[in-house]
């Protein structure tokens, strides 16, 4: 069984934001919700690196652990999804997430959060696959069609890889060997602590 993961090759990312644009367009993500974002470290200085970050779909996901209503679930592929019907918008998942994946529309009383939204690995939600109901809440379900996340598909430099962890780890390993250096499979030791890494 495939174990789906993301890997952003920080050596290749040129901060073009194609991944961000692809995600926002594909799922009609509202203003202010940033499912995917590109963060640039050391901007303008030597050693500048850009990394595209959404949800890492962690093994033993911290968001799922702290949710007071247990609205998260992990699919057989290792994709971490949640139910917006159960979500009460408490924000605990955002406090626990190392990567800042949960996003909240600023609706409701006292700047209260509304239903949490996040990257779904283009795998939709608990509703039936590829239905209107699922699309309205969670966006398209590409995985159900046998496709991979659009952000990685649209990446102009193929720095963002998405798919079975073993396959993308092998791709990355080959790259690192060929070019002789790398900043490491960024985030993997936090998100997938059990796996033998790159």
């Amino acid at each position: 069984m495939a174990r789906m993961k993301f890997l952003c090759d920080a050596e290749r990312c040129i901060e073009c934001n194609a991944c961000v644009t692809a995600c926002k367009n594909e799922h009609e993500v509202p203003w202010g919700i940033n499912r995917r974002r590109v963060v640039t470290i050391n901007d303008g200085d030597p050693g500048e690196r850009s990394i595209s970050m959404a949800c890492m779909h962690c093994t033993d996901a911290p968001c799922a652990a702290v949710c007071p209503v247990d609205c998260f679930y992990t699919t057989a592929d290792g994709v971490v999804l949640h139910s917006k019907d159960l979500c009460i918008g408490c924000g605990y998942c955002f406090y626990a997430c190392p990567f800042g994946a949960p996003q909240f529309p600023q609706l409701g009383n006292f700047g209260g959060r509304g239903k949490m939204d996040k990257c779904t690995f283009c795998a939709g939600g608990p509703e039936a696959d590829m239905t209107r109901a699922e699309y309205n809440q969670y966006g398209t379900n590409r995985l159900a069609e046998g496709k991979l996340p659009l952000c990685a598909e649209m990446c102009s430099t193929k720095s963002l890889l998405a798919g079975d962890g073993e396959i993308i780890a092998a791709i990355y390993k080959e790259r690192v060997t060929m070019r002789g250096y790398g900043s490491g499979a960024w985030g993997w030791s936090t998100a997938y602590p059990d796996s033998q890494g790159v």
Partner: protein, 334 residues
Amino acid sequence: MTTIWRLLALCLLLLPLSLAQPVSAQQHSAPREAATVPADEMQMFQELQGNLEGRVSIPDQRAGMLIQPGGKDWRDFWRETSPWVGGIFIGGMLVLLLLFYLIRGKVPIEGGRSGETITRFNGLDRFAHWLAASSFIVLALSGLNMAYGRALLMPLIGPEPFATFSEWAKLAHNFVSFPFVAGILLMFVLWVKDNIPGRLDVEWFLAGGGVVGHGHAHSRRFNGGQKFIFWSVLILGSAIATTGYILMFPFTVTDMAGMQLSHVLHSVLSMIMISIILAHIYIGSVGMEGAFEAMGSGEVDLNWAEAHHDLWAEEQRAKGHIHTGGGRQAVPAE
């Protein structure tokens, strides 16, 4: 901050130099050994003390936080530590109260009821108390639902009803905080002058407060134990309210670490306060004969007042505040 980035940049720059030689030798042999964690990332985390942040081109600057390791500590607190804190403080207090009731029983009025009463709390006093008290019950239950609901309530009623209930509980928790704060402020204004600690209270505690042992220490309007409750409610209540409002207006006054700290303080202090209030509820209801009416009707039996608040009863008597024929009559023995 700049030093860390320079160090990081230096390491990243030096990496090609360090890897150049061995890699070129390895290129045509077996790929390098897969380590559990890439050396570069571990090195980065070792140098990094705190969060990894960068620049983002979008208006939400909070998105610049790439990784916050503090989330793990907060998760461990919420899932591992907090249930024990609640269990020990609240569960422990319930056990203590049960044992106390089984051993000591209901503390009777010495000499039985007299049939005469004194006004202890007027309408405004009682309004302030019950405003804060009823709000507290709602806040405590909805708060405990956040901590324990998933483990205790959800298996009983199922995920959908539990989520609906929790959503309403969260709303109740947020809105009822306001009458709670109002009640506490009102109680403070009304009773602070009678709650200043003094030597009498030290003696009251040393005498066991009449709860342990049978001596009765002197007391004015409020005895040492009540002053403890007053200041606990005020101090804990204020701290809980403050952290609560920080949580209710997230990231307006503080950052991620601040929010996590506010949450930790809010939950720990609340559990302590719940445990103290449980004792307060006990003593004011089943624990002591004649205690509830102080807040119920406002009128207390004279014998009760002389036994538990002797100096205050004396003052009231001197002012001529005794009401005859009031209060509950003692039930005659059959």
